[in-house]
């Protein structure tokens, strides 16, 4: 097996990076892939909570890098999905505890172990972010339809381009079709017009995401959730499948479909 290493980043905080990593990991594992996710947010770890694995942590990424345990010992197996693992961040250290070259080495060791390595990047464009992208084959940028989030995504995409990390792909998270329709929210077209990168998924706003995250069972498990469906579609696209997309060519088509989904039509 030669794993694909995918880093999820955003620039701005709070746009849903960790939620996206947790859901994509679950969705990929549901599809039968073997997935290892790495929480790169050292000092502010969250991914374990969203995956519901908080109380199983014994060793973390810094323990692996500093040689206090073997890689396998820090890989926590998921409660439900036997092919999903988490390498948690250290909570009592900071971003300086690891370097880009150590991250590259860690990812290299994981490549033979699984199909996908998903790395959750911290917010910002400093050291933690640079560590998170260092070993990536592919980068997904998460943004919200808000001017500040899009501006930060633009900055991050610029840095990725200059580091020659290949073309990044965009996840537009927390889109509210009603607000877009009343012109109170940026539309997917507005965002893509500015960022000009490939769109890999639109995740509609969905209160189930918050409920599911608090329960430690990501929304991707829920067959009826719209956000869950969106994440499962992105996972399929990452596996190389072609999944019909929300129609972005005809604006009316997009709204009709989203409204049918929300049951407003």
């Amino acid at each position: 097996m030669a794993a694909k290493v995918i880093t999820i980043t955003s620039g701005k905080g709070g746009v849903g990076k960790t939620t996206a990593v947790a859901n994509l990991a679950v969705a990929l594992a549901l599809e039968g892939s073997k997935v290892v996710c790495i929480d790169g947010d050292i000092g502010l770890r969250n991914l374990d909570v969203i995956l519901g694995l908080e109380n199983r942590i014994v060793y973390d990424i810094v323990d692996v890098i500093e040689g206090r345990c073997r890689l396998k010992q820090a890989m926590i197996r998921d409660k439900k999905l036997p092919e999903l693992y988490l390498i948690p961040a250290a909570q009592t250290r900071d971003k300086n505890a690891i370097s880009a070259s150590e991250m590259i080495r860690l990812v290299k060791d994981l490549r033979s172990e699984c199909d996908f390595v998903l790395i959750d990047s911290p917010a910002g464009i400093e050291r933690g972010f640079r560590n998170a992208i260092a070993g990536a084959d592919r980068v997904l940028v998460v943004t919200n339809p808000e001017i500040s989030a899009v501006r930060d995504a633009d900055r991050v995409i610029g840095i990725l381009e200059s580091e020659e990390k290949g073309p990044a792909a965009l996840i537009l998270n927390r889109l509210n079709p009603t607000l877009v329709k009343s012109k109170d929210m940026l539309s997917p077209e507005d965002v893509l017009d500015l960022l000009a990168i490939e769109l890999i998924g639109i995740v509609p706003e969905d209160e189930n995401v918050i409920i599911a995250s608090n329960r430690g069972a990501p929304v991707a498990y829920e067959p009826k959730s719209r956000a869950g469906q969106a994440f499962r579609n992105i996972a399929k696209r990452l596996r190389g499948e072609t999944v019909p997309f929300l129609d972005l060519d005809a604006q009316s088509g997009l709204w009709n479909r989203l409204q049918r989904l929300t049951g407003r039509k």
Binding site: S99, A100, D154, I159, S162, L194
Partner: protein
Amino acid sequence: MEETRALVQIKGLRDGLLASLDDASWEEQRAALLAQVDDNPAFFHGARLALEVASQILHVNELVELRDQLSERNIFLWAVIGESPTTEQTAQLLGLATRISKPRPEEMRQVRVENLGEETALFLNRTLRSGTRVEFSGHVIVLGDVNPGAEIVAEGNVLVWGKLRGAVHAGSNGDTTAVVCALDLSPTRLQIAGETTMPSLDSQRTPNPETARINEHGKLQSETWSPDR
């Protein structure tokens, strides 16, 4: 002897010398560095030296020893740049710098061209994203967009074949005849020579090719391009 020399590479920096070591053992490296210094004491006398140690893991006693040996030779060790966090901590403990400031080339471009006359232009065949700053002593032409958060400062004119939504300063040396033109001129800030304007952000308007210049009353003015003229 010649082979040990190759372990250490010395380069000149703006604020001193940079010695780059490779991954050989620390004792070998240290010996090679000192040998190189002793070979050419005049060159190194009074130098500020930064040390690049790749992934070497250095502890306090090792760095202190080297620092003292260098200072006996009148060399001031001021920075240690390494990939290992341990080395970084050691360096910080000893009050040494752990990075050398060099602007990231992709984010800061400052190009100076001498004696090429007023027709010199910098051609950028890409979109300038947020955080990019381009400064040029002639004209700037962009084939692409200028996104919000990007900035262009040109002594001459600025021409954008795309959407101009960042900040732009034309005629930055005081040239009031400089112009800014774009297929969609909606910058967050537009300045020509000393005149600045912050255009109202109206996302509903239809984009038009426009040229902004300083008019005969000394005010900034923009006019829409039309095929009739």
